[in-house]
Amino acid sequence: MSAAPFGRNIPTRLLGALTSIGLWIGAALCLLPMIWMVVSSLRPRSVPPNQIFTGLDQLTLENYQNVFDRVPILQLFGNTILVCAAVLVLQIGIGVPAAYALARIRFRGSRLMFWLVMLTLMVPSQVTILSVYIGFANLGLVNTYAALILPFGMSAFGVFLFYQFFRGLPHSLLDAARVDGLSEWSIAWTIVFPLARPAVTAFAIFSVVGRWNDFFWPLMMTQGFGIAPITLGISYFADAETGRDYGGQMALSTLAVLPLLIAFAFAQKRFVEGIALTGLKG
């Protein structure tokens, strides 16, 4: 595809132009809700929300001030970041060695283990949440960080991604290391794991996006603002407002959306490359 830019003759050129128009219309539809969110968050509270072009000359931060006064935003962000980071560290620390072992070390039980991981890929958290809740309740761990972090400590998707990556490493690399007399242990730690960085980067973004967005699990595992993530904060605030304070809701939404969008803006290339590298091509 990439090898053939449009334009030998009239029909293909027309097709190219139509593709461009279609792509940019689609892009506009993707952006519009977000633009509207930001615009609405910055307009004075007195402007009726559906008057699109009113109040654009008197932008204000009063909605943000109001939200900061009423919602413990920093605490909510702190909770979200803590959970994201802890989950990511666990998932990588646990998943990378496992994937390497499954992909490159033949050992008894590796096939069974592989299929257990694949099976887990198909077990949604909705299926496990009630039992896990009962377990945590028995341990007195409901409404603790442990209840938000541990259930996600192992990502089957991550193991699968890393597995694909390790399968793609050239045989000669590992063979050479083995001929040199390196133990499997040293091969793993000094050669293979450092090489996994692109796959880890790609997965890290998936993982953080997943935890950052999670609403279902914390909604059931936590009570009140204490250890609640920002997603719950948004929901609590929307409920408290019963849909009246649009400016405030848009301000809170903007704040919640911004960190990940900024991170994505910086990491985009790495992210797309990472997926291409991990090769979701079967």
């Binding site: 809700p33 977000m34 299929w115 009630l130 192992m154 279902f216 929307a238 809701q249």
Partner: protein
């Protein structure tokens, strides 16, 4: 359930040895392999396999956070759930959502990915923009969409009024509430699938296209005979991931409609939450969980059969 990751240390430490006979070396590889997968195995058992099995057991018991004791009730929970109108409607809503959202977002994503791949200018910007709905926090965007679809002050009704179309309560009417949530789902998921397809397209060797050009294959024909079959693993993967996400649908309807009006947007996931935490009935919730699980497995199995080859080949 109670297995703690600390039990890792209970295993004998593997001391890396440099020189040893082949027999011992193989054994040491096995031990290292097993050691490397052990934490994964523990977590997988504690938070996926055991709870999934426990969920099945739970479906024959009564348990409530208010009165945490197990009481065997036989198949009562099944009778209660399967006979309730709420369940039938939740199952229907979930299936309709999945059946529409997944194929539509895959088709759009493929269209966008192919369109972007063929471009030199603006490709980076387009990729970034299409991915933004996925990168933006779902709950926040659901609140934004709820605002846009608001009957009184919503942006959509304002746009439509320019063309003389009367305002509508998109999320408040039972006929438009689910379609609105489907539209939101497509809006959100297309960018994610586009990334998958871009990776899949990039993985198709250029020589394949060169051979196709020699055979006189261009445009749509080339897409149909070369690109589409070669993307099959990606499509299957996107389909499975997308379907599982669709079957789990919770956040958007929870925020935008809370399952209403009159259960028109209640999904299986929402029903699990309602049974378990609103009505404090974990047993009936477990029945709904089980249905959701079977649905996930069935759809995955169907997709694998259709694609004829599993995208996940086991270790050799």
């Amino acid at each position: 359930m109670t297995t703690s990751p600390h039990s890792i240390s209970a295993r004998p430490r593997i001391v890396p040895t440099v020189e040893h006979p082949v027999g011992r070396r193989r054994m040491s590889r096995t031990r290292i392999g097993q050691l490397f997968v052990l934490p994964t195995l523990l977590f997988l058992l504690a938070f996926a396999i055991v709870p999934a099995v426990a969920n099945f057991t739970l479906s024959f018991f009564d348990w409530s956070p208010l009165r945490p004791a197990f009481e065997f009730v036989g198949i009562d929970n099944y009778v209660t759930v399967l006979q309730s109108k709420g369940f039938i409607s939740a199952l229907g809503n979930t299936v309709i959502y999945a059946i529409i959202t997944v194929p539509v977002s895959i088709a759009l994503a493929l269209l966008v990915a192919v369109g972007i791949m063929g471009r030199l200018r603006g490709a980076g910007a387009l990729k970034a923009i299409y991915f933004m709905p996925t990168a933006a926090m779902l709950v926040a965007m659901a609140v934004v969409w709820q605002f846009i679809l608001d009957p009184r002050v919503g942006l959509l009704n304002e746009f439509l009024s320019w063309f003389g179309i009367p305002p509508s309560g998109w999320l408040l009417n039972s006929s438009t509430a689910l379609p609105s949530i489907i539209a939101f789902g497509i809006w959100r998921q297309t960018g994610y699938m586009m990334i998958l397809f871009l990776a899949g397209l990039a993985a198709i060797p250029r020589t394949v296209y060169e051979a196709a050009a020699l055979d006189g294959l261009h445009g749509l024909k080339r897409f149909w005979h070369i690109t589409w079959p070669m993307l099959a693993p990606t499509t299957t993967f996107a389909g499975i991931i997308g379907t599982i996400a669709a079957v789990e649908l919770f956040d958007a309807p929870k925020i935008m409609t809370d399952g209403g009006p009159a259960g028109a947007t209640t999904t299986l996931s929402m029903m699990i939450q309602q049974e378990g935490f609103t009505y404090s009935s974990f047993g009936t919730g477990a029945v709904v969980s089980l249905v959701l699980f079977i649905l996930t497995l069935a759809i995955t199995a169907v997709q694998w059969t259709i694609s004829r080859r599993s995208p996940m080949a086991g270790p050799q």
